[in-house]
């Protein structure tokens, strides 16, 4: 169920909906085109290289380096209660990028462009319906299912 992905979800309907189910089980998945093998993160159902619509998921290990970051002080609707928060863009070792919040394992003063990070699947404990996301953590941090 992709509507599980993110605290505020703007696009619940997608062909890569199983991504959220995998994340709930602790797996960070990229897409892989069944015809030409092109991989993508964020995942895509359709291949812009060979135009195939057949894809499968392939697991990434979440090792990453920080490309850039910013601490957001002025929040949009839906995020007023969490402001300020810091987002980072990381290059995944396996390919592609993602954008996410920094988790509690990293002190704000330690954030530096180029640092090694680990992307870790997470569940919003305070939200009743299952809501999943991922956060940027210290290398070696692992996710354990509740």
């Amino acid at each position: 169920m992709f509507k599980w992905f993110g605290k505020v979800n703007f696009s619940p309907y997608t062909k890569v909906t199983d991504f959220a189910d995998h994340l709930k089980d602790g797996h960070l998945m990229a897409s892989k085109c069944k015809q030409c093998g092109q991989e993508s993160f964020p995942p895509k159902a359709d291949c812009s290289k060979c135009l195939s619509g057949e894809f499968e998921f392939t697991e990434y290990d979440g090792q990453a380096t920080l490309l850039s970051f910013t601490k957001i002080h002025a929040a949009p609707t839906g995020f007023e209660d969490t402001v300020p928060y810091t987002v980072g863009v990381v290059d995944l070792k396996d390919g592609g990028r993602l954008l996410a919040w920094f988790g509690e394992s990293i002190a704000e003063s330690d954030i530096k462009i180029g640092m090694d990070l680990q992307v870790v699947p997470q569940i919003f404990e305070e939200i009743k319906d299952i809501k999943v996301y991922y956060s940027l953590e210290k290398p070696g941090t692992t996710w354990s299912k509740v």
């Binding site: 703007f10 964020p42 850039s68 970051f69 910013t70 002080h73 839906g78 990028r97 996410a100 462009i113």
Partner: protein
């Protein structure tokens, strides 16, 4: 393609215009442009509106504007590419006239942003990022450019003060522009004392939402050559795109769409960056102007911070940029912005910019970015 000329320009007051509807704002700029061109409105054979529809309570804007201008039954339509919607409108009219389908068109960029509350605007603008994988983390429009700023500072050693020197320059010139929202100068100290928005940005790194409109009257070469007033020619007209998602950009230190669009526009006009005597670039945030210096070739990649520090973008420097105050102090009514840039360059090329006139300006450029570089329109303009 046949040459297309600007025969009339009009610019309304930018600001918090709680006194006017969007069609009334459009009319202000249109009336000035019609008077400037000294043409009969009956000769306008079509209107193109540049605007971003989701900010307006009125659905389908071209209809209400066309009626208010009194131009029914002539055709009208809208172009939308976020903050570059105005330049897209000019490009559409340029194609319409160049193809021979039209002879004289009114292009109006107009936007009423203050019908919505600030958090709503923040949320809407944040969704210029990719909503499936990015906006779920509460990204905002300033946050995206802040990511560029952090990356640029890390990669090239660009300094915090250099970012703010862009704001200081644009407020300096905005103080000399009667159409600007903020007509007062600022200092680095004052900017450093303002509230944080998205690190490293503070309030003075960001342009302000505004209402407003601007208009140009475009005509075929045949009609333009018989025009009563001065003509400015649209000689380099290019646009380019980059991925919607920052996650699929090659780097976060420049805009590939701007590099590509300027390359094409220079080639079409047969000029290079050194020939540009005055430029209007998209300075929605301070880093955006620094990246524009580099993307447009006014300086080497990474040297944008030094470029502003040495005052190369002031009048008297190697390429004067945003000497009308830029979006930073004019305000940014997003659909109107691109047309406003073209009006300002036309004014400069006509030698009518008053105390902010760049001497001997014969070739000028506009650089209008949509979103966070998803779209970029670059025009090279030349005077008769």
């Amino acid at each position: 393609m046949a040459r297309v000329g600007i025969i009339g320009i009009g610019h309304g007051e930018f600001g918090r215009r709680s006194d006017a509807t969007v069609q009334e704002l459009a009319f202000e700029a249109y009336r000035e442009a019609i008077h400037d061109a000294q043409v009969d409105p009956a000769d306008i054979d079509g209107t193109v509106i540049g605007s971003v529809p989701e900010y307006h309570k009125q659905r389908s804007l071209p209809g209400v504007v066309q009626e208010y201008l009194g131009l029914n039954p002539k055709p009208t339509w809208l172009t939308e590419v976020a903050c570059a919607s105005g330049s897209a409108a000019i490009r559409t009219a340029w194609m319409g006239i160049g193809s021979g389908a039209h002879k004289m068109m009114a292009v109006i960029g107009c936007q009423k942003m203050t019908e919505l509350a600030t958090p709503e605007i923040l949320a809407l603008m944040g969704r210029v990022g990719e909503v499936q994988w990015e906006s779920v983390f509460g990204t905002t429009f300033p946050a995206y450019y802040a990511l560029f700023a952090q990356s640029h500072m890390h990669e090239f050693g660009t300094k915090r003060e250099q970012l703010l020197q862009v704001a200081v320059k644009n407020h300096y010139y905005g103080a000399r522009n009667p159409n600007a929202l903020f007509q007062k100068e600022i200092t680095i100290e004052k900017a450093l004392a303002s509230d944080p928005v998205s690190d490293p940005f503070q309030v003075y790194d960001c342009c302000a939402n505004a209402d407003g409109a601007a208009c140009v009257i475009l005509a075929s070469e045949e009609i333009a050559k018989k025009a009563k007033g001065p003509v400015v020619w649209l000689d380099g007209m290019a646009c380019s795109t980059a991925s919607m998602s920052v996650l699929r950009r090659p780097n976060l230190t420049g805009l590939p769409s701007a590099e590509e669009a300027s390359r094409i526009a220079y080639e079409m006009a047969g000029v290079g960056p050194k020939d540009i005597k005055v430029a209007e670039v998209h300075d929605c945030f301070t880093i955006a102007e620094i990246m524009a210096y580099e993307d447009l070739g006014f300086c080497e990649r990474g040297a944008g911070g030094k470029f502003i520090e040495e005052k190369q973008s002031y009048i008297g420097g190697s390429t004067p940029v945003n000497v009308d105050g830029g979006l930073k102090s004019k305000g940014h009514p997003i659909g109107a912005t691109g047309v406003s840039m073209t009006v300002e360059i036309a004014k400069q090329l006509r030698g009518e910019a008053g105390e902010r006139q760049v001497p001997d300006a014969d070739v000028g450029l506009t650089h209008n970015v949509g979103g966070i570089g998803q779209y970029c329109f670059v025009q090279v303009l030349r005077r008769d």
